[in-house]
């Protein structure tokens, strides 16, 4: 059975984590179990090493990103934010989303406008993100955590689309 990602990387199961510690623990483990340590050894050890390293990599990537970490914490509470029952999004956020999307469509070839949009969204994201820690402190606030994590998911997607558009402009 796979371990809880926090337990695996020996971090407290909280939203706010010490990222430096995360990096340190991750690298210490990798130095011991990475398949490169077993390249000249028996097949069973290679297999065991790949399996464990894959698990540790997954844990690390998940905890490193605040959004993935939030999703994972909710998952530990048996909540899948992509589940149908959480699809409702507040009206104002929906409007905001549509505005951003429209702006992206209109300025698809305009570098300055896109960069401005990206920085606006970034500000908005930081604001939303700053609320997350307190929602995870108390179990009774989990509904807010779900709402905010879902919003961040939307924001992440539109950020990706803006980035893609920016790359296309030479």
């Amino acid at each position: 059975m796979s371990l809880n990602f926090f337990t695996l990387l020996q971090l407290p199961e909280t939203f706010v984590i010490d990222l430096k510690k995360l990096d340190q623990n991750y690298q210490s483990i990798q130095k011991e179990i990475h398949p490169d340590r077993f390249a000249s050894l028996a097949d069973e050890e290679k297999k065991a090493s790949i399996k464990k390293t894959a698990e540790v990599n997954d844990a690390y990537q998940t905890l490193k990103s605040p959004i993935r970490r939030a999703e994972y914490l909710l998952h530990l509470h048996d909540i899948n934010i992509h589940d149908e029952k959480y699809t409702a999004v507040p009206q104002d956020f929906l409007m905001q989303q549509m505005e951003w999307r429209e702006e992206l469509e209109t300025h698809k070839k305009n570098k300055e406008a896109l960069e401005k949009l990206a920085s606006d969204i970034q500000k908005n994201k930081n604001e939303i993100m700053s609320q997350l820690p307190k929602f995870f402190e108390n179990k009774s606030n989990l509904n807010d955590a779900i709402k905010v994590t879902r919003e961040l998911n939307f924001i992440e997607k539109i950020e990706q689309h803006i980035n893609d558009a920016l790359i296309e402009i030479i």
Binding site: L8, Q10, L11, P12, T14, V16, I17, D18, K21, Q24, N25, Q27, S28, I29, Q30, K31, E32, I33, H34, P35, D36, R37, F38, A39, S40, L41, A42, D43, E44, E45, K47, A48, S49, I50, K51, K52, T53, A54, E55, V56, N57, D58, Y60, Q61, N163, L166, I167, I170
Partner: protein, 621 residues
């Protein structure tokens, strides 16, 4: 801890103290082999003192010539002289563009690429394996010993099919592949270790036929790839083609024989190389008809004509930066790799883009092989003064086909490997016992825009009502960047494992047959070697298991389990007295299987050990 690593240095009586391992840069136009000697990596030269071995194979009626020796046949027998075979690796015949302009005769009735030669049809994997054999021989002559393992480099942007093809070629050449590593990562290792660089680096690798860009963080012997991108068919070859095209147009050379076309390209390449040093260059080309032309080219004209090619490398750089979430300012240095980066306009283009000077301390042709040699040395189990850890990524997203011809991504590009992701599926019909899964690689949303890796059917699902079965499919990418898929039905715990074999590679059977053929040619030496290797491996595993048992056996295993392992050890050690390699191998395998779960437990122990002493952070509690 690893079973073998538990053995203290003094305890084991391993026969070979220093294992000969090589790093191989299997390039589109040139290949190199390197090895670590007295602590430093060096390129191994062939008997004529060449470091670069042209990746060219000539198939004569009774002889095969590789490298320098194959060169003369380019202009006399182009049809049987294969160049740039790397461009064909892992591809189907239908993938090859401009087939008509190539001198080769392909087997049109095969989906695979098969080139007709004096020695019959040759698959790109066989042709590559002939190049690898030449490199292996070169190394064995130079090092006066047998190679125990090799690290082979591949473009970071190679997909699963191309990686698998490379590994198959190595197997066919009789090489023990310790690891496939990405070319830019190998270059970073050479820079990081030999030049003691630390920070965030961009590796710009423009080879003969491929372009890679990787962004790495180098810190205390850890090489972490943050993002990689590239272009699968862009390299120095394309610049040669552009010059050849200019010569053709200017001289209205329409109908050329394949040999003349080759010689045109050779002249184009010479011109390109001359323009690196001087502002203009001239060449005289003699055609088979006796016609002679003089062509001169100046830098400006060349740069203008190939500006688009240089520009093509910018987009992948932007993508990699965006994926790594980095701006240009956060880059500490740009390392130039690959012979094509010698072109002055490439240098100035990249310098302008990053607004920084470029790192050219190491020879751009050699740096990949040198880094690979470092890694090979460590992977072979030789003691190394530096604690080297490479954390590489998968270049392309991996997904499966869903409704409406769309791709659902399961593993995203730039995920650190090894990585495994599981996905659960269910049946949509009552009593459904089979299900087909289409695995794809690529970034686009439609199936038709991605690379199809495998199409397989899961069978043996117990009949249930629709939606009741729970099938968990696990996609795993290993440290070589190769995919394997396993599936299990959760209610019955039935497990099937399949290694994804791209539909146009060689089948396991084909490889076995080819290997058999080459074994038949081999002498008795080979059998003696097989026996010797089997004995060494058997002895090693006995020592390792005994040590592991002494240390952790009673804590982790039941008496019954220990007894089983001990009797398997006894069987193996008595078989070591007999000269039967098959028997030894089968007993070794048996002991390996028995200790599988023990190995997994020890892996967990290592994780604990790695973090021991680092109590849970006080600051966060």
């Amino acid at each position: 801890m690893a079973l073998l690593q538990i053995a203290e240095p003094g305890q084991s009586s391993l026969p070979h103290q220093h294992k000969l391992a090589v790093g191989i840069d299997l390039g589109t136009t040139n290949s190199l082999v390197a090895s670590v000697q007295s602590g430093l990596p060096a390129i191994l030269k062939d008997m004529d003192d060449h470091k670069l071995i042209p990746s060219i194979v000539y198939y004569g009626k009774n002889e095969t010539k590789v490298g320098q020796e194959a060169l003369p046949y380019l202009s006399t027998d182009a049809k049987n002289t294969i160049v740039s075979v790397k461009r064909f690796m892992g591809h189907a015949l239908s993938d090859i563009q401009y087939r008509e302009s190539l001198p080769y005769e392909f087997n049109g009735s095969s989906a695979d690429i098969q080139i007709k030669t004096n020695q019959g049809y040759k698959h790109p994997i066989e042709i590559s394996s002939d190049i690898l054999k030449k490199l292996k021989d070169t190394a064995e002559v130079s090092l006066c010993g047998e190679i125990t393992g090799a690290v082979i480099t591949v473009p970071a942007y190679f997909d699963d099919a191309q990686r698998q093809a490379t590994k198959d070629a190595a197997k066919l050449a009789g090489l023990n592949v310790l690891r496939l590593i990405n070319e830019p990562t190998a270059a970073a290792v050479a820079y990081g270790l030999d030049q003691k660089k630390e920070g965030t680096f961009v590796i710009y690798d423009l080879g003969g036929g491929t372009f890679d860009i990787s962004i790495l963080k180098l810190h205390k012997g850890v090489f972490e790839v943050l993002a990689t991108n590239g272009h699968p068919h862009l390299g120095g070859d394309d610049f040669d083609q552009a010059i050849a095209e200019m010569i053709r147009q200017e001289n209205q050379l329409d109908l050329l024989s394949h040999e003349d076309k080759r010689s045109l390209i050779t002249h184009a390449r010479t011109l390109k190389e001359k323009l690196t040093e001087s502002s203009s260059a001239k060449t005289i080309i003699k055609f088979s008809s006796g016609k002679e032309i003089i062509f001169s080219l100046d830098r400006d004209t060349f740069f203008k004509a190939t500006h688009d090619l240089a520009q093509k490398t910018i987009q992948p750089i932007r993508r990699a930066l965006s994926d790594a979430k980095l701006s240009i300012d956060s880059i500490d240095g740009i390392v130039m790799v690959g012979g094509a980066t010698r072109m002055p306009h490439i240098q100035s283009e990249i310098k302008n883009f990053f607004k920084k000077d470029l790192l050219n301390d190491l020879d751009p042709d050699e740096v990949v092989a040198l880094g690979a040699a470092r890694q090979a040395h460590t992977l072979a189990g030789n003691k190394s003064d530096q604690d080297l850890l490479l954390l590489d990524v998968t270049p392309l997203s991996l997904g499966i086909e869903t409704m409406g011809g769309l791709v659902e991504k399961i593993i995203h590009r730039n995920s650190t490997i090894p990585i495994a992701k599981a996905q659960e599926f269910t049946t949509y019909k009552d009593g459904q016992t089979a299900m087909s899964i289409h695995v794809l690689q690529g970034e686009r949303e439609r199936v038709s825009d991605c690379r199809s890796l495998a199409n397989f059917t899961l069978t043996g699902i117990p009949p249930m009502v629709a939606g009741a079965a729970k099938i968990r499919v696990t996609f795993q990418i290993d440290a070589d960047g190769l995919l394997s898929v396993s599936a299990s039905e959760l209610s019955t715990n039935k497990e099937t494992t399949m290694t994804v074999k791209p539909s146009y590679g060689l089948s396991e059977e084909q490889i076995t047959n080819m290997l058999k053929q080459s074994f038949e040619k081999a002498s008795e030496d080979k059998e003696i070697r097989v026996l010797g290797e089997a004995k060494i491996e058997g002895e090693q595993i006995i020592i390792a298991v005994q040590n592991a048992l002494d240390k952790n056996g009673s804590q982790l295993l039941s008496d019954d389990e220990i007894k089983k392992i001990e009797s398997a050890m006894l069987l193996l050690s008595s078989s070591l007295q007999l000269d039967d390699p098959d028997l030894i191998i089968s007993h070794t395998k048996n002991l390996n299987t028995l200790t599988e779960s023990f190995a997994a437990m020890l892996m967990d122990e290592s994780v604990d050990k790695a973090l021991k002493g680092q109590s849970i952070d006080k600051v966060n509690l």
